[in-house]
Symmetry: none
Subunit: 191 residues, 4 copies
DNA sequence: CATGAATGAGACTTCATTCAT
DNA sequence: CATGAATGAAGTCTCATTCAT
């Protein structure tokens, strides 16, 4: 009731997409799940494709905002660790949204160069942290796009693991281990 | 002509799947691309679903074989590096096959528990290497499934990056960097 | 602003109907073109069908009025020629209206017996002229409905030709030729 | 049974189009009338549009052939009269086909420049007759496209009249009158 | 083994019309 | 009078699959 019909449609679409896949979900079933008429969906979104993209960008920016809600830290390692935990917590609170990101990232139908750009844009604040840490020789001088790709990808994989097996998420060995791999992986080689 | 019609169908399916997505590719278009009649496809595969699964398992085992074709090495690091390079070379030689693995791994329609099992089975020989290295304290004592997940995922991500931007694949900084992240990420924390 | 919304709707409908066809034009697109809301259209017309019929009868009577605005002439040939030119001028000044008449006249959806009646009613004054001329043996004693049909139809065809190829309308050979066919066609056979 | 499914579809489409209009006839209703499945229609025609165009050109050429099946005559007037009667007979034997021609000729959706070209192409043999007759001063030196337009249009109008009121078709005054208007209309002016 | 016409359920989308504001 | 979100029936077209040849 507090929700607009447009939001109801987006919610239902998300739920169905992650369980059945995007293509396997009909617009009729989305409308039904949202308790609106078929036509209503197309009143708010010109096409199924645009509904998917709208969902995608809204989720992407939601993740970006969630990550930045963390206090400023002194040490770079602590700062990055904060981002990391913030992002993981968001994923555990919004498992379907994360699964959707994972799904769409590998669907040729929706895979565009936007993808890379959107990732960089959303994670821009991370880029700065990393550059700075590399400059301070806290991180190894790896190519920046390689690093970003790794961060993005390791995050999605770990988040997905913790969603599929929620008991792991509460064990320190997994929680610390996941971040250790990230930070250690980017650290300078031990001489 | 040296190819059987069945193989022609598999080849055409792979090509179309990675460019348009599995669901967006019709059996009719596969048959057309393979220069066979619609009915012929269903002589060789009982359904589209079975065609997809057949393609999947054949590619998965092809990757497994490709990785094991490497000489035995003394040092664990060298041994793992060999596996890594073998796998990357296979991906660069078979970009469509890698893209297919990536696509199917995140499609809810085909996502089953098999997936995890198949991954472990294919990478079984790696597990042994890692366990041994952990025992020798060359690698950190991280949970084994976390490690496996990381290896599998980092491989797919790097292979995909090198396929999308082939020029990166030839630069030492990217080649070495990708592996450095892997090995370093699993290494024990510096004092 | 000098135009009422109702008139704006009629104008927009006419424009869209002749370019895309009646059925292919949605009420929504008419409203948009007229810069009014969807609902507004249905305040002024109970249905799309009634909008079409309203447009039809208003155009039909407009043509009737246009034709009668001509001075009384002595000779029957001059009188008919006047009607003819008046009607052609109206068509050239209102090309879309003529195209609409042409379109609707052959659409089974709107084709009713009204059509014949309306044509006769509009052209009633012409009937008298023809009857008289036949009586004076200036015209051949052809069946009256055949004659009327011919007049109506030849007019629409010539008007349409001149609208499609406006340069022809200014050439004497076409202007005179078109009327010559009409008058000559109805004349008594030579010797 | 002697009919192929493709022909059954064309026949049903014609029947429904002339009674309800092209747009008002759904592909589903065509298939039903033809006793085939919906998909069958789209197996033979890539779209509804192409079905319409296929029907159009087949009818147009059928009319062309019907007209040419007449013996060679000495006098131009007799020759043209033969064409005229042949064409009218075809129309009376195929009333739906004529109605379809009439309908499509005025539908903005299908109205293309092809139209004019097709008409000229189909009626090419008539053009020659007319040119010759003009040269012999049996016909007035009117612009050729005006003449052709008139012939085409007068034919459709008369044929339609005779179809709508079949009793008229058997009366000499109408039969002769219709042709008299044609020939007389094109004749030189009485000095 | 191979073919391709035929099937019919179901997908996406459109649209005339209504109604609460 | 005017608005535009909402409706749901209906339209065009797709597609995995079958089967007679």
């Amino acid at each position: 009731m507090g929700y607009s019909k447009k939001q109801q449609i987006l919610d239902s679409a998300l739920r169905l997409f992650v369980h059945q896949g995007i293509q396997a979900t009909s617009t009729a079933s989305i409308a039904k799940e949202a308790n609106v008429a078929t036509g209503t969906l197309f009143h708010h979104f010109p096409s199924k494709q645009s509904l998917v993209l709208c969902l995608y960008s809204s989720i992407k920016s939601e993740l970006g905002e969630a990550m930045q809600q963390c206090p400023h830290q002194q040490a770079p390692r602590q700062q990055v660790r904060h981002y990391w935990q913030q992002a993981l917590q968001w994923a555990q609170a919004n498992p379907e949204k994360l699964r959707f990101l994972l799904h769409i990232a590998h669907d040729p139908q929706f895979y565009t160069s936007q993808h890379q750009e959107l990732m960089v844009a959303t994670m821009n604040f991370l880029v700065e942290q990393i550059k700075q840490a590399q400059h301070q020789q806290l991180l190894a001088p790896l190519p920046l796009d390689l690093v970003l790709n790794f961060c993005h990808n390791h995050y999605l994989a770990c988040a997905n693991l913790f969603i599929e097996q929620p008991d792991l998420a509460h064990q320190r060995s997994y929680q610390d281990g996941a971040f250790q791999i990230l930070w250690q992986g980017l650290s300078p080689v031990k001489s």
